[in-house]
């Protein structure tokens, strides 16, 4: 499972960070950082929820 963020679309709403802080972090500079690009399977439900709840539809998953 690979996490891909379209940073041209991302507006750092940080919804993903609230849902899956293991994977996503918005730092004080207001930019989103993907902490783990290939998260383990036990995080799949959380990451998929983050994909669905991103208000900019900026996150997708491959694999």
């Amino acid at each position: 499972m690979q996490v891909i963020v379209d940073f041209d679309v991302c507006e750092s709403n940080a919804v993903c960070m609230a849902i899956a802080p293991e994977v996503f972090e918005v730092r004080d500079d207001d930019f989103l950082y993907v902490l783990v690009e290939n998260p383990s399977e036990d995080l799949r439900d959380k990451v998929e929820e983050a994909v669905r709840r991103c208000p900019k539809q900026a996150i997708r998953l491959e694999g």
Binding site: E11, A14, V15, A18, R52, R53, P55, Q57
Partner: protein, 412 residues
């Protein structure tokens, strides 16, 4: 359950259909909508679509792509006939009446949203008002305003400083249109965020050149005196503002007229139980669902984007899971982008809540505010502080004490 009909190719309706498939429903799903457009995302309508950054092809709902459903777009729901269910509740379902036919269903998701309120005495052209008065709710509304902007619109009056009004004002200023923003309350969003925060947001708009008129209502809108193009907006204080266009953003009304007489309880929305169940085999989601929240101790009806996704998914699960489905009681979350200002609230604030600024100050372009009631944390607002909102979200869900929340938020 073999056949589920979803009324509304909306964010809530699409996410309901997607959740049904994800949870293994293999029967037929038909999604009905009065609008002929493919499902689209609304937040860009007042922002990127107006500023020109996006076109209509850029705002399709990604979750609707490759969704295994039958689309019936351009068909309006006009009535609902529910089967009378026996004591065992076995005879779920009924018939959905459309303006061009009907559909039988075992399960129904009502997610057809709400319509923009119009000025009672001004209306638009349809209501006998002058040309140039409009609302911003649908893609067609947004395209009409976009077209006027592309044609060199030079002045607009925005009536109502709610989220739509504020975003339209910002988008118009970004296109160098002269904007007058009229709001009858003392501050924008005062009832939601309190007057202090609302006035801070009014300041953002003033710094961007908006003529913000607070505490003054609109009496009527007439065709402009003189050469006849544009509108005269007559205000309560006797002044008249002339503009080429008027955009009215004074809230919405749930689209429930077609449900009168169906047996559902209609009262400022479709009244549901705590699982979004409205009647046997019928659930509601999105802007028109009204349900009892134990968390907030009241009936809620929420118009936010995130709520549409969450309630759509929860309503779908309720249809499949039956009465064992958990109560739907999430913490609401919304955002609004105006210029380069991102406003986010998780939870609830309110005009009479306790409020403490925990980062920055209301005069800055970045600050965070913690809201509480009866000593408990109820909400966190971030203005260009997404990190505070994200990190405090779990604490709002836990309902920690207001004092602990203030301390925790100051430490972020």
């Amino acid at each position: 359950m073999d056949a589920i009909v979803v009324v509304g190719a909306s964010l809530a309706g699409v996410h309901a259909a997607a959740a049904l498939r994800r949870d293994g429903f293999v029967g037929s799903i038909t999604v009905v909508d009065a609008q002929a457009h493919r499902p689209y995302d609304r937040p860009p309508l007042s922002k990127e679509l107006l500023t020109g950054r996006f076109g209509p092809d850029d705002i399709g709902l990604r979750s609707a792509v490759d969704l295994d459903v039958t689309w019936r777009l351009g068909s309006a729901a006009v009535g609902l006939e529910l089967n009378s269910s026996g004591a065992d509740g076995a005879a779920l379902g009924g018939r959905l009446l459309l303006d061009d036919g009907e559909l039988a269903f075992d399960g129904l998701v009502i997610a057809c949203g709400a319509s923009a309120r119009t000025l009672p005495d001004a209306g638009g052209p349809d209501a006998g008002g002058p040309d140039g008065v409009g609302v911003l709710r649908t893609l067609d509304d947004a395209l009409a305003l976009r077209s006027a902007l592309d044609d060199g619109l030079s002045s607009v009056v925005v009536v109502g400083a709610g989220f739509i009004g504020l975003e339209v004002a910002a988008s118009c200023r970004q296109r160098d249109v002269a904007v007058t923003l009229v709001e009858p309350m003392a501050a924008p969003l005062g009832r939601i965020l309190g007057d202090d925060v609302g006035l801070a947001l009014a300041g953002v708009h003033r710094r961007h050149g908006v003529d913000v008129r607070l505490g003054v209502g609109v009496q009527r809108v007439t065709a402009a005196a003189g050469d006849g193009s544009g509108c005269d907006v007559h205000l309560d204080d006797g002044s008249v503002v002339t503009a080429q266009r008027v955009v009215v953003g004074i809230g919405v009304v749930p689209n429930t007229d077609w449900l009168q007489g169906s047996g559902l309880t209609i009262d400022n929305g479709v009244v549901c139980d705590e699982t979004l169940w409205a009647a046997p085999g019928v659930v509601a989601a999105g802007d028109l669902a009204r349900w009892p929240s134990a968390r907030f101790g009241s009936m809620l009806r929420v118009e936010h984007w995130d709520h549409a996704v969450a309630s759509g998914e929860a309503a779908a699960r309720r249809l499949l899971a039956g009465a064992d489905a958990p109560a739907f009681d999430p913490v609401p979350w919304f955002w609004s982008d105006q210029y380069d200002t991102k406003v986010q609230l998780v939870g609830m604030a309110g005009a009479d809540a306790d409020a403490e600024v925990v980062s920055g100050s209301l005069d800055d372009d970045r600050f965070a505010v913690v809201y509480g009631r009866n000593g408990r944390l109820t909400g966190v607002l971030g203005v260009n502080r997404p990190r505070h909102v994200a990190l405090m979200r779990a604490r709002v869900e836990q309902g920690i004490s207001f004092d602990d929340a203030v301390t925790a938020a100051r430490d972020l």
